[in-house]
Symmetry: C2
Subunit: 188 residues, 2 copies
């Protein structure tokens, strides 16, 4: 399982056996039951997470309501950006929506080795630039697309999502109320 994960990292940026071994000391796997948290509100995000198996929701609280920031499907990386970099309490909460297997890659390890290990430094570049592209895409989708378009796109990208996620989570993700989403669906 970790081999597969290391291969994934290696695809992002080539890693020698030595570099892989360095990283291995800072990687661990955790099984997390559906509905449990990976990162609670107020925690500091000290890892880059990877959904090896399962399905994850990232959300934040606003006026008492919880608003979905995004969904992370299998084989993708995620972390709480502001909390990770600034080492501040996260205002993002990360929960699993299914029984999941999450791989933790520690910031401590990455920070330690990137100063001396070129491969690990370049791995970080790839991780961060991937995250940057993702963040930018999400911003553009909010700016350019209507809620209806974004709903359609979400269904295309993640066909099974309607079975996994209650409608009100989709609605907050799209930035509209559940009622409005329901009416959008009725019209299609």
């Amino acid at each position: 399982m970790l081999t597969e994960y290391l291969n994934r990292l290696n695809e992002l940026s080539p890693l020698s056996i030595e570099s892989k071994n360095l990283l291995l000391e800072h990687i661990f796997v955790k099984k997390i039951n559906a509905g449990d948290y990976i990162l609670k509100q107020g925690d500091v995000c000290k890892h880059i997470y990877f959904v090896n198996k399962g399905f994850v929701r990232i959300f934040y609280y606003k006026n008492g309501k919880n608003i979905t920031e995004w969904f992370s499907k299998e084989k993708s990386f995620f972390f709480s950006i502001a909390s990770y970099f600034n080492e501040t309490e996260s205002n993002l909460v990360i929960e699993t929506l299914e029984d999941s297997e999450i791989i933790f890659l520690s910031k401590a390890g990455l920070e330690k080795f990137r100063k001396t290990n070129l491969e690990i430094a370049n791995l970080l570049i790839e991780l961060f630039s991937g995250s940057l592209i993702f963040s930018q895409q999400r911003m553009e989708s909010i700016q350019f697309e209507t809620a209806k378009d974004r709903y359609q796109n979400l269904l295309n990208e993640q066909p099974g999502i309607l079975n996994k996620v209650p409608l009100h989570h989709l609605a907050t993700f799209l930035g509209i109320t559940q009622e409005t989403l329901s009416r959008i669906r009725a019209k299609v």
Copy 2:
């Protein structure tokens, strides 16, 4: 002037004389008159830009209207993220609002050296993570704050901006129409 810029880079991530010299070959300065473009629509973004002097607006077109993505003040870095990484035509346009002095740092150089030079790789990590934090902050400000709040914050962060930028640019930046912004201002 370039010395100052190199010091700036050095603050982000320490650079030896050798690394600085490597980078120097891939840095140039351009004076750009107010209203002229740094990056046109359809260009591919091949540099990370730095506003040494002046003031810059980044915008995109949507339904024929131009929408401000953000303003870059002096001593800050910026680039067209999707275009830079994917080497696709930029849908962001970058223009100066004042006579400006822009420092160009070429992607070609960065990509060449990050594979072999640890300092330059770490510089890139700092540049990208800074950009990631910025991108995230902007997203959160859109999600968490009302247009009114965002207007106030903008004035706090950039007190002189009302003298530099016509109201309709501020409005599109805030995601509202000029008329709505005018009404917000009237109520304060």
